[in-house]
Amino acid sequence: MTEQGNGNARAARGVPIESVRPHQFVGQRLRRKEDARLVSGKGRYLADLVVPGMRHAAVLRSPVPHGRIAEFDASEALALPGVDAVFTGRDLIGKVGPFVEGGRLEISPMLMEKVHPEVKPHAMPVLAADDVHFVGQPVAVVVAASRYLAEDALDLVRVDYEELPVVTDPEAALAPGAPVLHGHLGDNVAAHFVIASGDVDAELGSAPHVYRGRFEVGRQASNAMEPRGVLATSDRGTGDLTVWCTNARPHLVRTFLSEMLRMPLDRIRVISPDMGGSFGTGVFSEDFLIPFVARQLGRPVRWVEDRSENLLVTRHGRDQVHLVEVGYDDDGRILALKDRFLVDAGAYNQYAITVSYNAAAHARNQFDIPAVRLEGLNVLTNKAPVAPVRGAGRPEVTFMMDRIVDIVAHETGIDPVDCRRRNLVRPEQMPYHADIPYRDGVDIVYDRADFPAQLAQLCDLVDYGAFRKEQAEARRRGRRLGIGFSSYMEGSGFGPHEGAVVRVDTNGHVTVYTGANAHGQGLATTLAQVCADQLGVTPEDVTVRMGDTSYIPYGVGTFASRSAVTAGTATGVAAGLVREKALAIAAEVLEVSSSDLELEEGTVKVRGTPSRQISLGEVARAAAPGPRSRLPAGMDPVLEAEHYYVPPTVTWSSGTHAAVVEVDEETGFVRVLRYLTVDDCGQMLNPTIVEGQVHGGVALGLGEALTEEVIYDAAGQPLTGTYMDYLLPTTTETPPITVAHQVFPSEVNPFGIKGCGEGGAVGPPAAVANAIVDALRPLDVRISRVPIHPERLLELIEEAKAEAAQDGRPSARS
């Protein structure tokens, strides 16, 4: 681990506190506060929640990928004893509106102004009333006395569909005459943009070599360990609505509910209980459907998604095709990248250009490429909607770019590590201006980093020289070992804001309330560490509460590697404000100047006179309203502070990964033997938690590389409906992972934090693909798609062998 300075001495830039206190608990490997509860089975997940009188819902989903609902008959279902109600899309018309999820929220005005993306909004109905556009689209909901009965009733609901022509391939969806999903859009292009830096055509025209290729990344399901669920109850007297849902964005759910049910925000409370993962997937029909139904029936209603539903509809990710032209010279220097890519958005493009623009903004990776032109299209097909799943565009472009670097290395005869090094942005070029705007509209400037040092550290970690010897030795014994590299950038800590309220009770205990929420990230621990340092208490003194709209007026939520950065900064600043307030009150009580006071371990002391001190609890009592208040004139009561952190732009984390694989040449099977990472996520709040993020991300990325894919047949029917066919990697497929760090604290926020939630998932597709290609040298196996199916790899091996035999030399290329 390299220590490249830290944020301790840095002035509190851009935040309303006088100074940033040095890190004491931040950076420590504290055990997670939440684990004793969660691992001993004492968590409270949605399916654990029971409300008296609660009924159970089951959702009827379209079995056809494209069709018109002709007939609907629920009479038999309604006649089943124990069934309360059946609602269809037509029952919802005029009562609960359709939703356009991300369209208006995710594009910043600055980006609109700079890039002028074309985005065609189209709403998704909560329940389909007329047309269905993908298998799994909700068409009706049954409410009954038990989930068993509700599912029995689903069997009895009759829906006749007039089937319509289907398109499942984004390239076919763009062809003239393709079935158009949403007629009013004119065609299947839901969004389109172009960004460029430098003159790509001129560079391509003058480049000594041009590579043209195609890269594809298959569709991956998000697969949170806990499927989704919603429980809603409407107060019989007041009509106030309480909704528990497994959603990482409770405030956003509340905003939507307020609009769709036409209720004041403050009469809706949305609570995210303990959650077993989320991976960024957003809001869903059921988040609105179940509250609506509960209000209609006047009884609590709970719906718990099952794994079949989860695999079918709970936001898939990836599914991109990139068509590239790359100019490079004899020294392996990449001069230009032109990429036209399609995001198969599925049947509703609910996130505008979030995924596609994120892909474009990360395409240049760690490489200093003089000219780039990136054209992104979100294309509609009769498949489940795609969302920004962990990585959100980054794994796709990183796979493309890192394969390109390896291909250029091969073509020029340069060692792949050397070729990579030659293209990296050099330390003296930092801060590196990428000359394209990020998703927030602010021009991309890479935060402090040293990419060549990162690569060198990884090469030492993997012992690159020793591996090449091991590889040669193994080859003599008929074993095919290979090594592959990948590097990535991770724009993290996306806005628009996150807030924290820090309050000290009259016993001196501290509570942090924030609008971010946790579903595995350990925020209850890391935010306590930040708060403890800035306030002057210990993490044991701090409780973090989140996932409840009643805690704090505004909240954004946890996704996009944002909460450590945004909620972390908000917490630190609010804690600093509390500290300043505590010192001012203590000065009043002790009748000294606040500049003579220090606050440590929950006690305010007069410097040099340790006998003169008061506890934080006593300060809090002096801050209470009433006759015993000792507040300085004009100061509001209560020892608390609230701060909303509005990041000026994102922080830039980075990482480099290496995979060591063994390939079975006769079967196309690949085993990952070792996986190593070096990342830079700035000042780590808790290295153990960072490493947990890397481990989980790498496992997800290895699934993306080798086994996980949501597959539809040409008729639009999903073929991967269970875990027998959707191959999520388990511990037995996950190799030992070695994690090391660089530390370049961010200059964007006062605590030096950068995000680390997604990087682990970004590198594996490229690293594994490059390792397979390396293992099979001197054959020139051209992997251009992940996941790498053994059958496809065997075909590629056979093709490469045939080509080599034909050319009479082992490595050949036209």
Binding site: R147, Y148, E151, D152, D155, D306, R307, S308, E666, T667, F669, T707, I711, L719, T720, T722, M724, D725, L727, P729, T730, T732, E733, P790, E791, L794
Partner: protein, 292 residues
Amino acid sequence: MKPAPFDYVAARSLDEALAALADAGEGGKVLAGGQSLVPLLALRLARPDVLVDVNQIAGLDRLVVDDHRLVIGALVRHRAVELDERVRRAFPLVSAAAAQIGHVAIRNRGTVGGSVAHADPAAEWPTLLLALDGEVEVASPRGRRVIGAGDLYAGYLTTTLEADEVVCEVRGTLPEGRIGTSFLELARREGDFAIVGVAAVLAREGDVVRHCRLALSGVGSTPVRARGAEELLAGGPADDAAIAAAARTVADEMDPPGDIHGSADYRRKVAEVLVRRALCAARDEIGTVVAQ
């Protein structure tokens, strides 16, 4: 994922189970470990009227291991077979196969009888049964009968068992003399159903193969014996060339299914590879140096 309604009978004796099944007619289903049946119920792909639970029936869980004969009660769990030292010594291919069934939690629950009767052509036990020249003893209200492995499997997830019959015991043998065995599977994740699986048994006298059994999973609607390859090897040497030649014939003997995990063509290709490897492993287990 909740099952459709069904009646449930927890049989306390074999007679009670048989009576309940006879009453249920075609609508009855035997519940042992539930390894395959419970997921099918949850997905509503199976909708029996009556589940007859045989777990409490005494006497269906014996595990007898002689040098060449293996007797496994229908209720013996995969994990018990996997961990049995006697099995490991005398029937190493059975230990190896048992260890590749699902994961430990599944193996603790799933039964040998259930797996044999479920007749999944990609599963381990039906393939082993062929390789062990095995048989099953079944009971019905009409009494007991024995069905040879070759007569048990009628098609995909289909046996020649009658609706009122219950598997009581599974038996298999290995040839006497100098033998070697192996069990290999190709699956995309540990514990998955095999794309192709091979159980191989080789018996030799001197350098000559006296007897060979080769059974494959994943290559048809039932597990299959590769008779052509067996015959090609019998009476000849077990050198690499002979094994490779025998392996090349297996693709012609099968009509594999294709799915997202592997096309029919791919299964043929890897079946050849796996048969070759399995035969080599079985040969090497005998411990004789073979001239190239």
